[in-house]
Symmetry: C2
């Protein structure tokens, strides 16, 4: 890892032992970066205000290799993974948890950098780490550092996102370029140098979500350290306001489903939705937003960019008449600046002996042909997140 | 691990790749054990009903070795760890998340047994796994299997548990025998055979919690798969009822703080509370509930049972006048059958150059002497949970 100095302070098994050394690690390093009134109490569980909105709950484990990569690191990834899973169901983050599984011998400076990144990314996403856990395992029992986050969110009223809502006629929109994160990791891991190195797109999408579904584009609901009873929600605020923008109302109803294309990439998302909604999804090769350097790296390494993960993008399914205003709204936010429509949802053809409709994904190529985009099978890119 | 058959099916990297193989693992194994209407949707995040109670939120990572031990396994431990952290703040569980970090090559039969145990323990705790994640890392990058749980809970109204509530005069109560879990693991790991082998005490304490704080001793609030809007809470039910038992009302106010003595054992809990509340905690050696076989193993292995973890016990601080009824109430539940008072909270002596009060823990020995119970320092028992 960053083992330049043989004598630099390192994590020992005792740092996970529940004693004074663990308290010192938590008090001295973790709270210095992540401290807030809720976390500082170090209770067995954090106590938060009630929430009148529907709750969203998600978890993700992060085993990315290398820990630090172009455009991000495991800390940023762990916060974004949780926050973006909430965004995909239309929820703004209320609270984060962070579990650390550390291999004995990890340089404390590495942990320090990672925690700094967790703190910065959580601040960017306007959420706090309110509870956590630290385990240390002996050398060889884990690879450096694994981070596991969970997050609670509040689902925006009037938003009901589900594959079951996707219907023929819907537009398919990508919020930005595809494949950046995976190529950033894999090129770095394989030691390939490009003229213009690809940066990961890893970013927390809570701000973009609020930009779509909240009147003034900023999250209203931020509960972390507030006393119980003082909480207000985005949705409640909006209900109270007489001047709720017509666009926001339209988008809350018109957006049918969202997914962040992580493992398995855009192809996995499209196939999952096509299968669940029993529709055909047609995408246009000429419309796919793929950076030339990502396309070049994919050519060289033998990957199809549709299968390469992102960590800061959404694939959005929305009603046709909302597609243009949605793309325009996305483009007026930094994390949606590259938004484009990439295709449409069609009726699935009846097929098979029972003539039932089966979902599939079809790519219209630049030369006018079509090809099936199959669901990914096994592992293209291990430890990409 | 359970690698008796060289040709038995094993986890491959591709099982974590986000493709068809991962879907097969999730659909074929994970949902078979843990499936419920919320989890079955396999959304990026689970969507749950609103919660009018204060929310509790906790996470824990589990790296226990061996995975299967006398009295439990990593699956049962992972559910209990989360549920018991909620119990310690007076919250009943609403929903669980489960992240798996699996080493390539793990026998699928091992994962199957662990998931079965997760399911059984969650059912016992009346909670469901509603969201999860699966990562596979290459051989050597993790030791078999790590489980990471997070949990959301609803804090019972009228219950306010915190070290700050602990005051001189309070009674200190243990809900059962001390040190069982740690000795079960360490004796098994070191290959020591006892005449009567020690079983781990690992158990979910949500039922015991409801027994203390709910009118009829059963959790009223179980939200998992209910439609939004239909939820009722333990506390709301109780408010509505005209015949809420006087004992329950008394206990809700009289219990000041609870902790489950996991890593660092009872000594860590007592020292943490003594330091936070700036009190002296005096415990009586003759009152400590320690099984003879645990005491014997500790003698042989050189451990002090006060520092050995439990995974199914609570240390409770409560007002003196509630101590006897609390112990009686605990004893009328299977998981509190061994409840005893172990000591009292005293005013801390003024000490040091500033004559400020500093918390400490004192043991009155059987022969009438006293000794300080120091906070644990480093690691007595690695990978105990």
């Amino acid at each position: 890892m960053s083992a330049d100095h043989a004598d630099e302070p390192r994590i020992m098994l005792a740092h996970g032992g529940g004693g004074v050394m663990m308290q010192e690690l938590i008090g001295g390093l973790i709270l210095r970066h992540l401290g807030n009134p809720t976390l500082n109490r170090l209770e067995d569980a954090a106590v938060l205000a009630p929430c009148r909105s529907r709750l969203a709950f998600t978890t993700d484990a992060f085993v990315v290799k290398p820990i630090f990569f172009r455009g991000g690191d495991i800390g940023r990834l762990a916060v974004c993974g949780a926050v973006n899973d909430l965004a995909a169901v239309g929820a703004e983050p209320l609270a984060l948890s962070l579990s650390l599984v550390i291999e004995e011998g990890l340089a404390i400076s590495v942990l320090d950098r990672v925690l700094q990144s967790v703190a910065a990314t959580a601040a960017e996403a306007r959420v706090e780490v309110v509870t956590g856990d630290t385990k240390v395992v002996e050398r060889g029992a884990a690879d450096g550092l694994f981070l596991i986050t969970a997050a609670i969110g509040a689902v925006c009223d009037g938003v009901n996102l589900s594959p079951a809502e996707v219907r023929p006629g819907d537009a398919v929109i990508a919020t930005g370029t595809l494949g950046d994160h995976g190529i950033a990791i894999i090129s770095q891991r394989s030691g390939i140098e490009f003229e213009s190195p690809v940066q990961s797109d890893v970013a927390p999408l809570s701000g973009l979500l609020a930009h779509l579904f909240a009147e003034d584009g900023s999250p209203h609901y931020h509960q972390g350290t507030k006393a119980p009873g003082t909480e207000r929600s985005l949705s409640e605020n909006s209900r109270r306001s007489p001047c709720l923008g017509a666009l926001v109302v339209k988008l809350r109803a018109a957006v049918h489903c969202m997914r962040d294309p992580t493992r398995g990439g855009t192809a996995a998302v499209l196939n999952e939705i096509a299968a669940a909604a029993k529709v055909e999804i047609e995408i246009e090769e000429s419309l796919l937003p793929i950076r030339p350097e990502v396309a070049g790296a994919c050519d060289m390494l033998g990957f199809d960019p549709l299968y390469v993960p992102n960590e800061g993008r959404l694939i959005i399914f929305c009603a046709e008449d909302a597609a243009a205003p949605l793309v325009a709204r996305l483009r007026s936010h930094p994390l949606g600046a590259g938004a484009v429509r990439i295709g449409s949802v069609m009726k699935a053809a009846r097929a098979g002996p029972e003539h039932s409709r089966t979902g599939r994904v079809v790519l219209r190529t630049r030369v006018g042909g079509t090809r099936i985009v199959a669901a990914p099978y096994g592992e293209q890119l291990p430890r990409i997140c």
